[in-house]
């Protein structure tokens, strides 16, 4: 049972049976849109990068991205950079694993972002999605599709934040521009 999220929608990550999730995976998948024109069969490769920024009280504490694959505390792990996308043909091309139980106590928000490292706008990307999977059983909890790619090179996908004892995920879907997560910081801060 997966929830197709819309922009701004929040879902709680409490399990239906009352237990809370222990490990989730934020998966990102995309394919390069075929170019129209004379050499239509040639698609230009698009390198999207998934990043996770860990915030403590609105201050960035740690970041997990393709140059820092594991957060210092080991609770957030990036499975590795994918430079072309589309390999999974619908599966995750990049994934960030979050061990919710092990996140340091002062971290209260984790923001997931997607950047186009090669500089193409999301117009040249198709079938891009971001989904949240319960890592313990592989069940998809929420899926957010990047509908109608526009003239922007980054998107702030979602945030996972503490609410009481558990965690809540909120789909953000805010477009932004930037090559890596650093460029997105000003755009992220309003969402905290």
């Amino acid at each position: 049972m997966t929830v197709n999220m819309t922009k701004g929608q929040a879902i709680s990550l409490q399990k239906s049976d009352g237990g809370s999730l222990t490990a989730v995976r934020m998966g990102l998948g995309w394919q390069a849109a075929p170019r129209r024109g004379l050499f239509g069969s040639r698609t230009r490769e698009v390198d999207l990068d998934a990043s996770a920024v860990l915030f403590a009280d609105k201050q960035p504490v740690d970041v997990v991205f393709f140059r820092h694959l594991v957060s210092d505390d080991g609770s957030v792990r990036h499975t590795g950079d994918n430079l072309v996308g589309g390999v999974g043909q619908g599966g995750d091309d990049e994934a960030i694993l979050v061990d919710l139980a092990r996140i340091p106590v002062h971290i209260d928000q984790i923001v997931f972002t997607v950047n186009s490292f090669t500089g193409q706008t999301f117009q040249e990307v198709q079938n891009a999605f971001c989904r949240l999977v319960d890592e313990t059983n592989g069940q998809e909890l929420a899926r957010y599709t990047l509908a109608g790619g526009g003239q922007y090179t980054a998107q702030i996908m979602a945030k996972v934040h503490r609410t009481g004892p558990g965690w809540t995920m909120t789909a953000l879907g805010t477009p932004a521009n930037g090559r890596t997560f650093q460029d997105l910081m000003p755009a992220i801060l309003p969402h905290l």
């Binding site: 009280d57 201050q59 594991v70 210092d72 505390d73 092990r102 996140i103 340091p104």
Partner: protein, 702 residues
């Protein structure tokens, strides 16, 4: 020399033990029937088929396959039997229904040595779905083979009826049931026993005379339920498949006996070249281990001779945890092909976990500190808070928030520490020699090992937050970098200062402990230790090594000794490098010691001239790749006269200290870990005992 038979042709058989190879493009059923002098098959128990695969002197495979190897021992066939017919049939239910649509089946009779005696390609089949391929028959006390190729459109039932089997239809459907069951059967047949196992089995194989055909056969229709490959469930089938070779089958042996038994070894061995020449070789065990469903033949991608690469035994798994409690740790609970590798990986896993848990704790505490500071600053900078108790209240609130967060962080950290401590408690006693502390009882049962371990413990690592939690520091063997036991840098962590003389002695003791451990974990004669002690100042510390006689030569003294040892080792590096580069490893001089070499240098740079220093640097750079390792016991300050010339040397070595010192960083987070060398407990005789054994083993070896 193979006789290629045409239909009706016969050929004499000089050997009694034969292998009949069948290959077809599609899975087929292979069976064999035995008949009397008139060719009559007297009953269902006279047919060997997948449901009852063995008869005296005869074994067929248990399922349909594109390739079969039927084992026949004509010497073990009862006297009353005059004819053995090899039957092939297409399995019913799925796949092709007539031989006309598949490639012509090929049958060959091969001897024990793997040479084919006769072969026959069954051509001209059309609508037939069963065929009598070959006939082995007794003619005047000699056996012959005849190519038959008689097909039957009515399948096995018609074929068996023609052979005179009373309940032919029942038997045919029973065979098909068995084949279908065989395809669906999920029980994995045990791997083909190694040749050694075969001889053991054969030594105790059952005599065919004790169990005649009647005792062997299936009475009545073949039981429809799945039969275990071990043959224990089927009524009417003796619990142990018997070998026609004779002798009782070993009780409870899970291996299906092969008709060739021990004497079959040449067949197993020399039949191998034949495999490579055949177009589609699929040895029988692969067909047995891969019950392929109706489509396609069992294509075995595994290397035919690499069947012994069994997966490692599963690691011990942690017992299920109590609800709400973390699982109790188990030693060796990590990946790896051997217990040592698992423990090594587990230790590294613990190292990483502790580094990360500590990072989480430190980061939370840092954050709490900075937040409290900010809040207090804010409260103080607000002029209103100076009136009344508002400022104090704000300060208290900030402090309370701080304390709450730190408490939470500490609780999470303590939870992790408890888990890791429990893990250390089970892992530490389970460690093998090379990973164990000197006070581990495993050292008291020391035996000179037979192989080089994968890693060596050089000490313990811990963090200030949890000084009692020690992680073993393991370095891979063979050493990739030299070791530098730093005898300088006075002033240790706990504030106690050692004078330089004391520190030098400690450094030499540490070096000896490391060298002794290296000697002890290498097999006899595979590790040689040289010592350079120009001034003889390390004589006392070196005494255990010298006294037990494990050194290659007495410690070299004076400038001449230094030059001599360095020249020898440099020459060795040169020679080995040349041999490796030229790809002529066997061209090394016969007297060359092939063991790994360790050079302990005490009191550097005392006794070293410029040439010796250059040679030493050369050894440090080039040595590890060709098995020459360096252990420097030195104070960097004393060599300061050489200026930056030696900086690369120091950087190339792994710095270890004789006293606890926090100079090692982990590769994940970069914490400063306190290193403590692995030293022999004071007063312990373990070093002496171990070195004595090493020396004894060396004398025996050389």
């Amino acid at each position: 020399m193979t006789a290629e038979l045409v239909r009706g042709q016969n050929h004499p058989l000089s050997q009694a033990r034969l292998e009949i190879r069948v290959s077809a493009g599609t899975p087929i059923v292979a069976a064999a029937s035995i008949g009397d002098e008139h060719g009559k098959v007297h009953g269902v128990e006279w047919v060997a088929h997948p449901g009852a695969p063995t008869l005296p002197g005869l074994e067929v495979s248990r399922q349909a396959a594109a390739d079969h190897r039927l084992a026949v021992d004509l010497g073990a066939v009862p006297e009353s039997v005059h004819r053995v017919s090899v039957l092939l049939a297409l399995p019913t239910g799925a796949g092709p229904v007539r031989f006309g649509t598949v490639a012509a089946p090929f049958v060959a009779v091969a001897g024990l040595d793997g040479d084919e005696v006769a072969s026959y390609t069954i051509t001209g089949l059309e609508a037939e779905s069963a065929v009598v391929a070959l006939e082995l028959y007794r003619r005047q006390d000699a056996w012959k083979v005849r190519a038959v190729g008689q097909g039957y459109t009515g399948g096995l039932a018609e074929l068996l009826t023609d052979q005179g089997v009373p309940q032919a239809h029942q038997l045919a459907s029973g065979i098909n049931d068995a084949v279908t069951q065989g395809l669906a059967r999920s029980v994995q047949a045990p791997p083909r026993p190694a040749d050694g196992d075969r001889s053991r089995q054969a030594a105790a194989a059952q005599s065919p005379d004790q169990g005649g055909p009647a005792a062997q056969g299936v009475t009545g229709p073949v039981p429809p339920h799945p039969m275990s490959p071990y043959g224990t469930q089927a009524p009417g089938v003796p619990p142990q498949p018997t070998s026609p070779d004779g002798g009782p089958a070993p009780g409870g042996s899970p291996q299906p006996t092969t008709p060739y038994g021990g004497q079959g070894t040449p067949a197993a061995g020399s039949a191998q070249p034949g495999y490579t020449q055949e177009p589609t070789p699929a040895p029988e065990p692969s067909a047995a281990t891969q019950p392929s469903p109706t489509t396609g033949g069992p294509i075995d991608y595994s290397h035919p001779r690499r069947q012994n690469a069994a997966p490692p035994p599963p690691p011990p798994s942690a017992p299920p945890a109590q609800p709400g409690q973390p699982a109790r740790p188990v030693a060796g609970d990590a990946t790896g092909w051997s217990m040592d590798e698992r423990l090594y990986n587990q230790v590294w896993g613990m190292f990483e976990d502790l580094a990360r848990s500590t990072a989480a704790y430190r980061s939370a505490v840092d954050f709490a500190d900075s937040r409290m500071e900010k809040e207090i600053d804010q409260a103080l900078s607000d002029p209103r808070s100076r009136i009344g108790g508002q400022g104090d209240a704000a300060r208290e609130a900030a402090q309370a928030k701080h304390a709450q967060l730190v408490d939470q962080a500490r609780a999470a950290f303590d939870r992790d520490l408890t888990q890791l401590t429990a893990e250390v408690e089970v892992v530490e006693p389970a460690l093998p020699l090379a990973f164990a502390r000197w006070d581990n009882p495993v050292w008291h049962g020391y035996r000179v090992p037979m192989e080089i371990p994968m890693a060596l413990r050089v000490g313990d690592l811990h963090l200030p937050e949890c000084a009692e939690l020690r992680i073993p520091m393991l370095v891979r063997l063979p050493l990739e970098r030299g070791l530098w036991i730093d005898s300088g840098a006075a002033g240790s962590l706990d504030g106690s200062f050692f004078d330089s003389h004391e520190l030098k002695r400690l450094a030499m003791d540490t070096a000896v402990a490391h060298a002794a451990r290296l000697l002890a974990v290498h097999p006899a004669g595979e590790f040689t230790v040289h010592v350079i002690d120009p001034a003889g100042s390390g004589a006392q510390a070196l005494a255990p090594l010298v006294r037990t006689g494990v050194l290659a030569s007495p410690p070299a003294a004076g400038a001449a000794g230094v030059a001599d040892v360095l020249a020898r080792l440099t020459e060795r590096v040169d020679l080995v490098q040349m041999a490796v580069r030229a790809g002529a490893a066997d061209a090394l001089p016969p007297g060359l010691d092939t063991a790994e070499q360790l050079l302990i240098v005490n009191d550097f740079p005392h006794g070293f001239d410029d040439r010796a220093v250059t040679q030493l640097r050369y050894l440090a750079d080039e040595g590890p790749a060709v098995g020459v390792h360096l252990m420097m016991v030195a104070d960097r300050e004393e060599a300061a006269g050489y200026g930056p010339l030696l900086d690369p040397l120091w950087r190339a070595l792994l710095r270890l200290t004789p006293v606890p010192d926090d100079h090692l960083a982990d590769p994940w987070v970069g914490h400063a870990w306190t290193y403590e060398p692995a030293l022999v407990p004071p007063g312990s005789q373990v070093l002496q005992q171990v070195l004595t054994q090493v020396a004894a083993a060396r004398t025996k070896y050389t």
